[in-house]
Amino acid sequence: MNSIRRTIRPEQIREFILVLLIFAAILFFGSQIENYYQPRTFTRIASSVAILVVVAVGQTLVVLMRNIDLSVGSIVGFTAYFVGRAIVNNPELSPLSIVLLAMLMGGILGLVNGIIIAYGRVPAIITTLGTLAIYRSLLVQFSDAQTIITSALPEWLVNLPQVNAFAIGEWELKLIVLIALVIVVIFQLVVTYLPWGRRLYAIGSNPDAAAMSGLPVTRMTVSAYTLCGALSGLAGFLFLARFGNITVVAAQGMELQVVAAVVVGGINIFGGTGSMFGALLGTVLIATLEQSLLRWRIVSEFWRDALLGLLILLAVATDSVILSRLRAFWARGGVEQVQIEN
């Protein structure tokens, strides 16, 4: 028993359950929806995952340290729109500078969040609820209620979502999906191997102790929000590429999906536990439900958000019941090692 406890962590059991749930969802929808098992279905799910997961990675950074960012949807919409505007006005801009512009824009909005939270000592949930509204209002204000339309965008951008990284027969891996996966891997490494990443866990785990141990809590808060903003900016770019037509309500409500993905993915909303891999699994489940419900006629559009809400509640509830039991069981295994040698 002890050797099992040492090699498997309770969080891994949770991730395994999530994988089973994803398969269960696919099997269920396969039986309900005609022609469900087609490469197209999965490509569509994957594209949706690609955008969501980039934001979820940023959100995870923030949630790990016992914070939250509700403004991500607005940041995605904001960057999607204004990056689009920039391209329309300067078609000669290179793809790389466009991507950097998107991340810079998002990063600045995230930095504002971070500064208000870290230095202004306003609770994260209040701050980002405020900026959720403010960033969206800025977008509405400065866009003059005009929309970006696909036909005004350069060809490379409009075609980007169709570019394959590689393909095997009808099954293909899109470039944007690959980029998203690379980001997940990079940030999984960041939170495992960089002191900065480990400190996110420490701060979320016990903020008082973190301050007492001399961890740079304020600086870390600012940098985590800035990164979350920059990643949301990148997602804004992907959003623009995928949809082309951007109105002022673009990505509205995305924060619900992202928080759902993160929480369902096993990142503790009180900080301290979770992984990027978990966030990816959470996103896959949420995106699968989203895309499949679109095609499942029994369920009306209005119920989709309710279902997301229900999932968040379920995930948190099972977390506090099941995971805490698992943990207690594991912890006792750990304490057994406390012995004194003579």
């Binding site: 102790a209 141990s213 001399g214 750990g334």
Partner: protein
């Protein structure tokens, strides 16, 4: 003598109306072990928090190597080579043991080298002679294990000044020995150590110099050779203290609790003991001897796999703490920070929380005056140092918080009281007071189980002593046959 490494000059610090420190000066020389003594609330921890940049002093200066410096936060203190083990362990429950030790280090390179970290952590723990899996999660570590982690954390830093605020409060003799050996090595290397403890024997076994604070003021600094425990205590309390309190002998009453063959897989095994009305049964043992787990099982927080518990002649299976309380049990936890107190709530509310229904009038409203009265009675009996009982419990000093936890459970008037380290962090004066209260309760017919790592306390207060080692009951000694040597021998697993 050489120049001091660290010097505090005329430090004052106020919290609202409490003058925690008033014009306190203290010098630490290289290669000395300096003990800081004082009653609960004397200002010891506050002084340390000033040294480590957690609190900013209102007045006064900090000098390091002959230069005046300001320390704005713990990280800066660390950069100056000042590290502290704080009174309340500061554990990150979601990280593993090794990470807890190294997380605060600013200088371990840009990448976490897990293997190296595990190895180094294991080395440090080995130096402390503690077997603790460095990969196991810190969640659920016992208080003693948490304290070991705190010690390892400080030792792993390259320090010139090491400050230890009651590092030994929940450790037993063996771990204390190891810690002191290490302290002496550090001292030989020129590190200066500031050490706080309420256990006089420890202080005099290790300190070179002794400084006493009283009511936030500096009283005296003497070489240890010129101080006796009596004179130090006189300085601390400003009056002469009576000797150590011992339990009065009395014929025990009816059998209250009988435990037979109590076992829990991999935790403890075949525990047998009785508690009669009016008896105090002491539990002695080293860290990790599983005494707390037995108590938790009795109180329904953990469940045993085998064995029987009989209460007042009735076999019982206690599954939840609520059930235990209904059956007349009370458990005073060792971990006051996490389980014992609601820090932002007032002292009064904390004390009356489990007995709130007794304070309701016939309309079901809580009578605050009666609540207050109870709180003030306990404040007086245990000399809880606070301007008034409406303050948040979190603003009390560590020892005074412990007194509030005790008050809370004493007020429930249980039939069987389980005390886990009841005098942890309590100063000498109040300790005698607590012992006297325990004795009074026993006289009134309460049965008491007392887990304590303070051996003199166990010997003085117990009618019977159960000695445990790694989850096994090694010996059960009657008052007449129990000596320090016999208890230690059993706890270390030596059978004569």
């Amino acid at each position: 003598m050489t120049e001091p490494i660290l010097e505090m000059r005329g430090i004052s610090k106020r919290f609202g109306t409490t003058q925690a420190l008033a014009d306190v000066s203290l010098a630490l020389y290289p290669g000395e072990i300096h003990a800081l003594l004082g009653e609960n609330g004397a200002g010891k921890s506050t002084l340390i928090k000033v040294m480590t940049g957690i609190h900013r002093p209102d007045q006064g200066e900090v000098w390091l190597n002959g230069r005046s410096i300001t320390i704005n936060n713990p990280l800066e203190a660390q950069r100056h080579g000042i590290a502290a083990i704080h009174q309340e362990p500061m554990i990150f429950p979601d990280l593993n043991v090794a990470e807890n030790i190294f997380i605060g280090h600013g200088n371990r390179g840009s990448i976490v080298r897990w293997r190296q970290m595990y190895r180094e952590a294991a080395d440090i723990l080995a130096r402390l002679d503690v077997k603790l899996d460095v990969r196991s999660s810190a969640r659920g570590l016992t208080l003693a294990a948490q304290q070991v982690v705190e010690i390892a954390k400080a030792l792993s830093l390259d320090v010139r000044v090491l400050i230890m605020d009651e590092p030994t409060a929940s450790l037993s003799a063996h771990e204390v020995d190891q810690l002191f050996k290490l302290a002496k090595t550090l001292k030989a290397n020129g590190v200066s150590i500031l050490f706080i403890s309420h256990r006089m024997e420890e202080v005099f076994s290790i300190a070179d110099r002794v400084t006493v604070l009283r009511d936030g003021r500096f009283v005296s600094t003497h070489p240890a050779s010129e101080v006796t425990p009596e004179s130090a205590i006189r300085d601390m309390v400003g009056r002469h203290m009576d000797d150590f309190f011992a339990k009065t002998d009395k014929e025990p009453g009816d059998l209250l609790l009988s435990v037979r063959g109590l076992s829990k897989d991999n935790v403890f095994h075949d525990i047998n003991f009785d508690v009669r009305a009016g008896e105090v049964v002491g539990f002695a043992g080293l860290v990790g001897s599983r005494r707390t787990d037995v108590a938790l099982a009795l109180f329904g927080i953990e469940t045993a796999d085998a064995g029987s518990v009989t209460l007042n002649g009735q076999p019982v299976t206690i599954r939840t703490p609520q059930q235990a309380v209904k059956l007349g049990l009370a458990y005073v936890t060792e971990d006051r920070r996490q389980l014992g107190l609601t820090m932002p709530m007032s002292i009064t509310t904390n004390i009356t929380l489990p007995t709130l229904h007794q304070y309701a009038n016939r309309f079901g409203l809580v009578q605050q005056r009666a609540e207050r009265q109870t709180a003030e009675t306990f404040q007086q009996r245990l000399s809880i140092r606070t301007p008034d009982v409406d303050r948040p419990a979190g603003t009390l000093s560590g020892g005074n918080q412990q007194k509030v936890v005790l008050s809370k459970w004493l007020n429930t008037q249980p039939r069987l009281l389980i005390l886990d380290e009841p005098t942890r962090g309590i100063d000498v004066g109040a300790k005698a007071e607590v012992h006297q209260i325990i004795d009074e309760l026993a006289q009134q017919g309460m049965g008491i189980i007392m887990i304590s790592s303070d051996l003199p306390e166990v010997l003085a207060m117990s009618d019977r002593i159960v000695v445990m080692r790694e989850g096994r009951q090694m010996a059960t000694l009657n008052r007449s046959e129990a000596t320090q040597e016999r208890v230690m021998a059993a706890a270390m697993g030596q059978t004569k």
